[in-house]
Amino acid sequence: MARILVCDDSAFMRMMLKRILIENGHEVIAEAGDGRQAVQLFRQFKPDLITMDITMPKMDGIEAVKIIHEENPLVRIIMVTAIGQRAVITEALKAGASDFIVKPFDASQVMETIDKIINNN
């Protein structure tokens, strides 16, 4: 079981992810609605894993990944990207993200990616 921080500016998308994660035995310890909040909650809750949207207000997902990765390179971050944002995935991986999921994703895709990352640890 991993302690997970879910970051997305859409409450609906957070709910969808949260449901999949909880149903598969993980704990969602906090939810962030933008990159800045994600950084704050990462510092506060020290999650094992973070799911990170890219396009968000205040601070985007890539900027948040850079800050979080610099503070703790061991935290695993999965980018949750829009179908049209594949071009920025490379940038996110360079910034420190471990893997990515492309919307629309189903539960099995999410869990495969998370299991792969947890097992690699």
């Binding site: 609906f12 998308m13 969808m16 829009a82 179908i83 049209g84 944002q85 629309p104 994703f105 189903d106």
Partner: protein, 266 residues
Amino acid sequence: MKTALTIAGSDSSGGAGIQADLKTFSACGVFGMSAITAITAQNTCGVTNIRELDAEIIRDQINAVYDDITVDAVKIGMLASPDIIEAVAESLQRNAAKNIVLDTVMISKSGSHLLKPEAVDVLKKVLLPMSLVVTPNLYEASEIVGFSVEDQNDMKRAAEAIKNMGAQYVVVKGGHLVGNACDLLYDGQEFIVFANERIDTIHTHGTGCTFSSAIAAGLAKGLSINDAVAAAKKFITMAITHGFRLGQGVGPTHHFYELYIKAGLC
């Protein structure tokens, strides 16, 4: 046979909505399936009533199709409310839907609102990032990007802004431009203009639905995005050319012009 699913509203007069989508799928050679989001009472003169279906039956229609049948492309039309958008997104997510064509239906030809203003934000946040292609007209593009879209330069700026919201491709439809009927496809790198001389007719009921469904049909058949849009543009141009008078108002396009011509019926 390749398949396409339309998720949209029903048009009792048969020229737009689900009815236009299914006719387009058939005319373009793919098997059409449908999940109805709302029922509209309308004719060629206007919309007189709208009844939204509840989220559960919308989800169940989509899941029933996916649980049994391979869906090669999806066209999304009238969504009406934030609840319906979320129900549709949830089902598409559950089924990891591919080749989603999002026709951002907001207002009918006769001026009725088909999407509640508060739903536009949910559409942008939830459905747009999972769509392969988004097909707004000038009015819808303005509503999505928040600035006025009136000429080809505005269309390019709007396409870039919508692409940045997460869609993979954007087609801004210029049917309401002054002059030629030119549509703009943006793939994140270059703009491709699909231009045709304007056809002198008032019978354009259901053109938006027909065009986006024709794109979905092309994608279902495995065409590239450029080829799917080009084929759809050709199809809608011919369907408008053969549009006909029906009722007292704005008549429909002719989805089966090709068959009717071969049969000597038009």
